[in-house]
Symmetry: C2
Subunit: 329 residues, 2 copies
């Protein structure tokens, strides 16, 4: 606790995550092999949503700069499933992504699982998420194909790590021991994987959505997660937190700043701000994380690329140079 407070007083205010993104993008750039097929992402867009179009544009610019081919395809939503299956079967495509929502609801969850897990660059398929929750690191029994983690939660773990909040003097898996985190969002693609990843690193996590509060902490077996019910209210959870993560996709949702303790690390990934900007006078405030998310997308793509190239060359391609990290060892 004291440790966090000291870091925060040193870095109080708004944090721009560009340097963290640059660090990871440089690693990716160095790891793209010169005399091999170019790593390729195909991304499907089914709407005219300007937010998605802009995000796709930024992603394309970043990828192209770093040696990755990013092909954006506009497509009718009724044709998306067939297109994904074609991309699954196309050896020149190493990663597949989709801008959601497409139909909305459970049909979108189905489509996430049409993407083959070994091309699931966003880490959204049930297989990759199940593996995350159960400490399974490989997609195959021979342990040659490494899993990927969902980009957005992975980006937040990396940001928290680079803010110096992980206590590296503690044993591995306990670097967040004693820290309380609240995550306001329990979606299957961000909030719940994030809660699990932070719990896996030793934190006690309150996971909040419209239905209430659920706790996440490390399970008895290493790498497993224990969920539990609680009588702690949303407000109490926020008050107890060393780290507060906000991801409600509505500008109307604002956490009352008075609930947030001095020295809390506040990370906002909602696209809109879920808290009054003035909290940066007493907190570390990360208002947006998109650049690091794109870096994680690139990083995931290189992992999938290496998995796939290994299958063709029998393991001749060197693995990426990314160092062991909290989240992916």
């Amino acid at each position: 606790m004291e440790e966090i407070n000291s870091i925060v007083s040193a870095k109080k205010g708004k944090i721009d995550v560009t340097p963290i993104a640059t660090l990871f993008r440089n690693e990716v750039k160095e790891s793209v092999p010169a005399n091999m097929p170019k790593p390729r992402i195909v991304a499907y867009l089914t709407t005219d949503d300007q937010g998605a179009i802009d995000y796709a544009k930024w992603t394309k610019i970043a990828c192209n700069k770093d040696g990755i081919e990013f092909i954006l395809k506009k497509i009718e939503r009724v044709d998306l499933e067939d297109a994904i299956i074609d991309a699954n079967n196309d050896d020149s495509v190493h990663g597949i992504m989709v801008y959601y929502p497409v139909f909305g609801g459970m049909l979108d969850a189905y489509l996430q699982d049409v993407v083959r897990p070994d091309k699931d660059v966003e880490g959204m398929s049930t297989t990759n998420r199940f593996n995350l929750y159960h400490n399974i690191r490989f997609l195959d029994e021979k342990k040659t194909k490494k899993c990927v983690l969902p980009c957005t939660p992975l980006a937040m773990v990396k940001i928290i790590d680079h803010l110096g909040i992980y206590d590296k003097s503690l044993p591995f898996g306990e670097h967040l021991k004693g820290k309380v985190v609240t995550v306001v969002n329990r979606s299957e693609i961000v909030g719940r994987p994030l809660a699990a990843m932070l719990a896996n690193d030793g934190a006690f996590v309150y996971s909040i959505d419209l239905n209430g509060v659920i706790c996440f902490q490390a399970g008895k077996r290493q790498g497993t997660i224990k969920m539990s019910e609680t009588t702690v209210s949303k407000e109490e959870a926020i008050q107890k937190s060393d780290i507060l993560i906000l991801g409600v996709p509505s500008p109307k949702y604002k956490v009352d700043s008075a609930l947030i303790r001095d020295g809390t690390v506040v990370i906002n990934f909602a696209g809109c701000l879920n808290v009054d900007e003035s909290v940066d006078s007493k907190c570390i405030m990360v208002p947006a994380i998109g650049k690091v998310t794109i870096a994680m997308l690139e990083r995931n793509l290189m992992r999938l690329y290496n998995n796939q190239m290994q299958s063709y060359t029998g393991g001749a391609v060197a693995s990426t140079s990314t160092a062991t990290t909290e989240a992916q060892q």
Copy 2:
């Protein structure tokens, strides 16, 4: 069309599906082997919802009468995933079911996929649904383990078949050719699989939910489904329909009876009635389908049981005696 009208005038009024359920339950009863481990379903209940408790009770009574062991386990929702994994690994359990909602939303979709596809007696896992949409009949490459179809939509296909609406003089896969169906519900566990199954049998299907209308029809390759957009409104779709299937889980939702043509087959699976009862004066009206759904659950269980027993005995167990059907050939 004329054919449907003639059937409807012969059977106009409210239809009790008990005889259809009995037919399938008798088949199941005869197929349970005498000197073998008893077929076993484990069902998990996480709520105090009286509807779910009652439904579990009826299912248990039916299963026990037909030679199937049905074990209902009350469990905390936070412990459900571990319990499912234990049941996945327990050779004495042949089928696993869960009463939803548990957490609600996408987390429930995740839990559906924690159930191993070869024990997924309700046919709710992404694997079994993907296989349905893509005409894949077996879970394994050796083609020894047959897939199952989701119970509730399967029950409706069987009811429509037993009402005499399938035209068996037409080639297989076209028995519903020329028929227009509207399904008011596009959930991943009932409405969409049902739309696909009816399209697969030759029908033109309007699939309606809060977001609008989508059409389903047979794809070019046999067994595949083509989705398409439409400008037809919900009301127009209902007016055009030979068969109208209602599944909105709210008593407030009522289709205007004036939209429904004389002679339409109306099937209501919502738990509450989505149309005024008086439509039975001009239609075949199936107000509830639960008994046939339970029969399909038993039928699916026997398929999974035989799949599993085959693995142990190398195929020595006779397959169930159920005849070739529209939906499962």
